[in-house]
Amino acid sequence: MLLKKNAKLILEDGSVFYGFSFASESSVSGEVVFSTGMVGYPESLTDPSYKGQILCLTYPLIGNYGIPSNETDRYSMPKNFESYAIHIQGLVISDYSFEYSHWSAKKSLGEWLKEHNIPGIYGVDTRELTKKLREKGSMLGKIIINGKDVELYDPNKVDLVKEVTIKKPVIYDNSNNKARENQRFSVHERSSAQSFALVSQKSLISVNSIENNSDKKDNFNRNKKLNQNNSIIEMSEIAKGAISCASAQSKPAISEHAQKHATHFSAGSVFDKIKIIKKNSKNKKIVILVDCGVKNNIMRNLLKRELAVIRVPYDYDFFKLDFDGIVLSNGPGDPKMCKTAIANIKKAIEKNIPVFGICLGNQILALAAGADTYKLKYGHRSQNQPCVMEGTKRCFITTQNHGYAVDTKTLPKEWEPLFTNINDNTNEGIKHKTKPFFSCQFHPEANPGPVDTEFLFDEFVKKLSQ
């Protein structure tokens, strides 16, 4: 028999759930939430929207296919993860697969969590826990391992977005990549991983990303790495010596390769880059991505559509830059904490700049438009939420991960709902009746979950040209 280490989950109402530890043996506290998605734990756990939360997965068999490699995609983002870190405070499941099996797996879920110092407990009656959260609403709680107690921590009182947003702007550009654009529906052959790696070396003009979740700094030998990349922009940056250091977590990185590419730029250098992009391709659209804790797949979706992306901190004043539209990313916590972002979007609306909001971005757009948001009793965290596009009979199955919602009733006259959840009639997206501002509460970028609403990115691209 396996030697089991006892662990427990205590909720703020005093209820206790017993289980066993399978990951880091550290006690933590956070807001306890549940997600009903049946696949995609590597993607979910690296979704910054889960910042500060203890996540309970309702699907009982977890860890089955292990954790994939750190390889990077053609945008030099970790191919298999949604950011560079695990964002949950702790994981609560029913049945853990100590033995995993998948061709892409490199390690077990437990090992991965341990590397990131995240506790995980199994053997919990997750259905009972879920019912409790459903009935009483999301609650604070703590995972106690080895009897070591911790203080209750309420992430909703903290500006979580500040913790997950990047610290300085970064530009992503994906020119000359047309050949790969039809990739979406084609078959990934056995050798796909290798061929992707090659392509990314050759065709990326700028491979810039940044560690987005840390307060500690780490230095890398950038110059050497950057020289390997045939990037015009980066070369120019190097010449100017304008490269500053990326911030990175002290925890072991998910993708060392990707981190080594991480660079960011001062505002001044961003201007130069934009100029270069415009010079290279006149029709190239540039969008500001307000990073409130963005998932990589949002960026992949934008880059895939030939957009240049300037990813900026959530409170960044981007109006001094030359750009065509704004994407408001997903992110954790209460949207009302993002005061600067709301103010910036208000300004963008006045200036008639196209805006596309996702998840938290939907709430921020609503707040900027003058509507109100509220906290849902226990949120939507799942991959099966049906959303009907207003005025049609078309329904889309969507991935969701949010604790707050837009109050449709408070939408100003010139605004209207775009999508509505047919399970509970909550708002799932808004749009301006005449102007190019729209948003969705769900995740069109999926990962995890269904890809049915990816077309919204195309809609946004259309808006940029109008």
Binding site: M1, F17, Y18, F34, T36, M38, V39, G40, P42, E43, T58, Y59, P60, L61, N64, Y65, P68, S94, D95, S97, F98, E99, Y100, S101, H102, W103, S104, D125, T126, R127, E128, T130, K131, R134, F185, S186, V187, H188, E189, R190, S192, S382, Q383, N384, Q385, P386, V388, K393, R394, C395, I397, I422, N423, D424, A446, N447, P448, G449, P450, V451
Partner: protein
């Protein structure tokens, strides 16, 4: 709302249960009828399967017990003039029938709309070339393949594709006729056979060893498209999905794989334009994300029934609504009654389906499983650990397994062989291999079963090892808890903890110990949304991986009905009909109804049948668990056949209140000694019998009463391991076989009476007094298992005196056993002697038949009797103005090599019944319903013993008079020549001379084969076997029983197709 305005809709049913097409279509058809009725649409049903719920009163406005063939369906259309027709709810039978009618222009001619998926789309999915073309239009991959029309074309294609290749038949169900060929010789063999079923065969690259994944997809006409469930086959490609252990949801797929296949599924289904429900199957490379689409079934299927039960999403009901023009966003989720149908269920449990085979029942059949379906039923288990669900499922199979471990079943093959070329025992072989220190890698390389599944199996084996180290006094509570969480039964744990063989008491000791440790199971709901929303219906399972019950147990006035379990030969949809009717009566009497059953193909496990459904084991342990929690007024065990019936005494000993006939009486009827004593006391005659403990005593008995003798174990169901011995040699051989099947119960040997008539009575009694009864006679003489016999009601050939005496015996037995509820007695009548051969104090296979023919619901009467509600009514079941004939459906064509001959072992997989003005009409309709055709020209005769030849003389004369060309074997030819009947001689198969019978069969020059075996049990001569088998393989109607043959010839001499009346059920009587 843009719904179609419809007044009257015709639903095409699936006919008799066969391998590959079973009870799931009762489920889908019933849901479809409910959906139509909710809309106020008049419903017409064509389905000769009388044992189904869908053919019950109140389900459809008009029910036609007629063959599901283009001819009859057209006649019904002509008569009823429906506006719409539903083709997707009756399996491949209905679909094929619909396609034929469409091609003949019948729908256009009578102005009938095909609802839901269009016939053109159906053709696109069924025609392999069109399918490939349609998929390539949207860049979706299919395995390299070529559709061919001749054997030579096929061989040429295979050369190009390269071996191994798979041959698939268009428009086939359950992979019929398909096979894997590793070389030209094998392919030639497969193709030759396959072309007798189909004009088109697909020769396809074989992707054996890849993962097999399925999605159930739903689409409405507004282009909303969702995948309700995905499923992963435990067994990789190469094993038909109907033969595979299937798991829902998929376990080893990453997000990327899951959603890539999901996206393709939706793209394909949109492109094809399916409206309603369908299933798409993939092969997925286990080492990359490469995939190919194997097939799309544009109809409700076995998989969709499974998906429906696995998720709680009522697929068939929704599909029917979508066919009527609803949008997915307009239909409520019937489980939550709060959310909408347009969503994809989230499961918080794991579901495992395991097929149930009955291969032991057939002579000469191959035990290996592969690309063709051979299983006759399936079970579904739910748990919160894979191990838990797996062990539950293995117990549910009812083949003597106590779970994955602690069994006494032996693996006959060499382990390596078994792992590589699996039989029905593969999963046990994996456990054995792990015990034998095979590495997981090695097992994987032999089986290609994903290692994740193998690791889980290893967990169970490890726990077994651990428990074995202990005794009941030393076993740690945490170990018991772990074992229970991994699905070990008390019985399994007891076997590991105790040295003695006092299993039942030991299991109770384990039960008491774990209860002391507070290790008890909890009841959880299936709610389609993983607890995100409160559920309104109570679709339940029991798990040890939990800490609290989802529901409260405070229902007063409740009753539990035990279901019928897995369909198997001898216990099938008819028992589900009984269970559902019992539930309906209980509901009517304002009882809270609780159903326990684990068969996903049933109506009794539908979300809307009972108040609480436990999708659970029907083991003593689990029934007691549920009983203790629910504390009902009582339990009904007499509706689900022998499986619940077997629990009677054990439940009774634990003070469970069994409704109806007391368990002691049941025991008195089941225990041959007690029953025999009772018969002696009541002066009721029985064939002589003894209980033999040794081979010697058996031989002595046989010598005394004279051979042949019948050998069987007690507590018999459908003649399991029952055999007839004609001499000492066979007696010895069969004795070994019978004792192996059941060591705990002694072997019973009785005198086997030949050339006798067999008669049955189905009845209901109250406190020993018969309330209603029906007597049916068998067309075949005694010796054919009652489940394989053709039943006639009311009897046409039995003397009134015999009927009177049978009634008298039934009265005596009912009174002596103080029967309250349903019972069935089987009799043998010969030379004015009547002997009782079987007495079951439960409902029988023929209850739906007698209920529907007499129009008295025997189950309703029985259920009420059990609750002391008795109406003073007289029921007329003898003097009817019409005749009902029930005929068996065989599935020999799907069982490679099986000898298609009738005996005391039941072999049929389903049945039909039809009504007619006279026996000939009803009989012909019934036979046409199970695949017989009116012979046009050529008939082959090989009529067995001289006695049988003489018996059939008049019939053969009639054939000659009717201008049939008669072919015969030498002996038969010579015999009839003496009587002036001309037949043409064909050579025996082994004579290898032309004109040879086999050549005639292969070239399909024969319309009907009459081959009467010389005896019931003796291994037939190879020649006769070859004739029968070829007839089956080349899809030529075959008659092997003299009485049946005689009646068939009489009937076709009297009646032509157009004489068979198109009348619905209500028009009779």
């Amino acid at each position: 709302m843009e719904k179609i305005k419809l007044k009257k809709v015709l639903l095409v049913g699936s006919g008799a249960l066969t391998i590959g097409q079973a009870g799931e279509f009762d489920y889908s058809g019933s849901q479809c009828l409910k959906a139509l009725r909710e809309e106020g649409i008049k419903t017409i049903l064509v389905n000769p399967n009388i044992a189904t719920i869908q053919t019950s009163k109140g389900m459809a406005d008009k029910i036609y017990f007629l063959p599901v063939t283009p001819y009859f369906v057209e006649q019904v259309i002509k008569k009823e003039k429906p506006n719409g027709i539903m083709l997707a709810f009756g399996g491949q039978t209905a679909l094929n029938c619909g396609v034929e009618l469409y091609k003949k222009g019948i729908f256009k001619k009578y102005n009938v709309d095909v609802l839901g998926t269009s016939v053109q789309t159906i053709i696109d999915t069924e025609d392999r070339n069109l399918f490939k073309k349609r998929l390539s239009e949207i860049n979706v991959k299919v395995p390299e393949s070529k559709a061919v029309g001749t054997v030579n074309e096929g061989l040429k294609a295979a050369k190009k594709i390269k071996y191994p290749v798979m041959a698939r038949i268009a428009y086939a169900l359950g992979g019929q006729g398909s096979g894997i060929a590793y070389n030209e010789k094998e392919l030639k063999e497969i193709l030759t056979k396959a072309f007798s079923y189909s004009k088109q065969i697909l020769v396809e690259k074989y992707v054996g060893g890849w993962k097999e994944i399925e999605y159930e997809v739903v689409r409405d006409k507004f282009d909303n498209c969702i995948t309700v469930c995905n499923m992963e086959n435990f067994d990789p490609m190469g094993i038909h999905t109907g033969e595979s252990i299937v798991v829902a949801p998929s376990q080893t797929l990453t997000n990327s794989e899951y959603h890539k296949l999901r996206e393709i599924a939706i793209r394909v289904i949109r492109h094809l334009g399916i409206v309603g429900e369908c299933n798409i199957q993939y092969a997925l490379d286990p080492e990359s994300e490469d995939y190919c689409v194997i097939e799309v079934n544009a109809r409700l299927s076995r998989s969709s029934a499974l998906a429906s039960k696995a998720t709680g999403y009522p697929l068939a009901f929704i599909a029917a609504k979508l066919a009527l023009g609803y949008s997915l966003t307009e239909i409520e989720n019937k489980i939550t009654k709060k959310t909408m149908a347009c969503f994809e269920p989230a499961l918080d449990y794991v579901v495992i389906k395991i097929p149930r085979w009955d291969l032991e029942k057939f002579r000469k059949v191959k035990f290996q499983i592969g690309s063709e379906m051979k299983s006759v039923g399936e079970v579904m288990a739910i748990g919160r650990k894979f191990e838990e669900a797996l062990q539950k499922a293995l117990r549910m199979l009812g083949i003597g397994l106590h779970g994955l471990v602690c069994n006494s079943i032996k693996i006959n093959n060499n382990l390596n062989t078994e792992l590589k070329n699996p039989t029905d025992k593969r999963v046990m072989a994996i456990a054995e291999a792990i015990k034998g220190n095979y590495s997981i890698d090695k097992i994987y390389s032999l089986t290609k079963i994903d290692k994740w599944f193998l690791y889980k199996i290893k967990n169970i084996v490890d726990t077994e090892k651990e428990i074995r180290k202990h005794g009941i006094k030393t076993v740690p509570s945490e170990l018991i808890r772990l074992a229970k969480q991994q699905g070990f039964s008390d019985f399994q744990i007891a076997r590991l903890l105790f040295a003695d063989k006092n299993y039942e008491d030991n299991a109770l000791a384990v039960r008491n110990l774990r209860k002391k440790y507070n290790i008890v199971p909890y009841v959880k709901q299936i709610d389609t949304l993983a607890a995100e929303w409160p559920a309104k219906t109570n679709y339940l399972y029991v798990t040890y991986n939990g800490s609290r019950d989802d529901i409260r147990f405070q229902d007063k006035n409740s009753a539990i009905v035990l279901g019928s379990g897995a369909y198997r030969i001898g216990s099938s949809v008819e028992f589900d009909w009984c269970c559902v009717n019992a539930v309906l009566t209980l509901k009517e009497l304002k009882y809270n109804t609780i159903m326990i059953n684990y068969n996903p193909e049933t109506v009794s496990t539908d979300y809307d049948v009972c108040d609480r459904l436990y999708f659970e084991e029907m083991s003593f342990e689990r029934v007691l668990d549920i009983y203790e929690k629910e504390a009902p007024n009582g339990v009904i065990i007499s509706m689900g056949g022998q499986i619940p019936n077997n629990l009677a005494m054990r439940l009774h000993k634990q003070k469970v209140r069994v409704l109806g006939t007391s368990p002691e009486s049941i025991d008195n009827a089941e225990d041959r000694h007690k029953f025999s004593k009772l018969c002696d006391r009541l002066q009721i005659d029985q064939p002589e019998w003894i209980e033999a403990a040794t081979i010697k005593s058996a031989e002595e008995f046989a010598n005394r009463v004279k051979y042949p003798v019948l050998i069987r174990p007690s507590y018999v169901l459908s003649g399991a391991a029952m055999s007839v011995a004609f001499n000492k040699k066979y007696l010895d051989k069969y004795l070994q076989k019978a004792t192996e099947v059941s060591k705990e119960h002694p072997v019973v040997i009785s005198k086997f009476i030949t050339n006798a008539k067999e008669i049955e009575i189905d009845a209901v009694a109250y406190k020993g007094k018969i309330l209603v009864y029906a007597i049916s006679e068998h067309v075949e003489n005694a010796g054919v298992h009652s489940g394989d016999a053709t039943l006639v009601l009311p009897p046409q050939f039995t003397y009134i005196e015999t009927i009177r005496r049978i009634k008298g015996i039934a009265k005596k037995l009912a009174s002596a056993l103080e029967i309250t509820g349903p019972f069935n007695i089987q009799f043998i009548a010969k030379n004015n002697e009547i002997k009782v051969i079987e007495c079951n104090l439960r409902s029988s296979r023929s209850f739906p038949f007698v209920s529907k023919v007499t129009k008295y619901n025997f189950i309703d009467i029985a259920t009420k009797a059990m609750l002391d509600i008795v109406k003073n009514e007289r029921y007329n079941t003898v003097d009817l103005d019409y005749v009902g004939v029930k005929a068996p459906q065989f599935s020999f064509s799907r069982l490679h090599g099986a000898d298609p001959v009738l005996g005391v072992e039941m072999a049929s997989t389903g049945e039909v019944a039809c009504l007619g003005e006279n026996i000939s009409e009803a009989f012909l309709k019934a036979l046409l319903s199970v695949g017989y055709k009116m012979p046009e020209k050529n008939i082959l005769l090989s009529t067995g013993t001289v006695k049988n030849k003489a018996y059939l003389l008049e019939s053969i004369k009639k054939l000659e008079e009717n201008k049939f060309n008669l072919y015969a074997t030498k002996g038969t030819h010579d015999f009839y020549k003496k009587y002036g009947i001309n037949t043409k001689i064909l050579y025996w198969p082994l004579e290898k001379k032309e004109p040879n019978i086999l050549t005639y069969l292969k070239e399909r020059k024969i319309d009907l084969v009459i081959n009467i075996p010389k005896s019931y049990e003796e291994e037939e001569l190879e020649n006769d076997y070859l004739i029968r088998r070829s007839a089956v393989d080349f899809n030529i109607p075959l008659l092997t029983n003299p009485q049946n043959t005689k009646l068939f010839i009489e009937s076709i001499s009297k009646l032509k197709m157009e004489d068979l009346e198109i009348k619905d059920w209500d028009e009779y009587g």
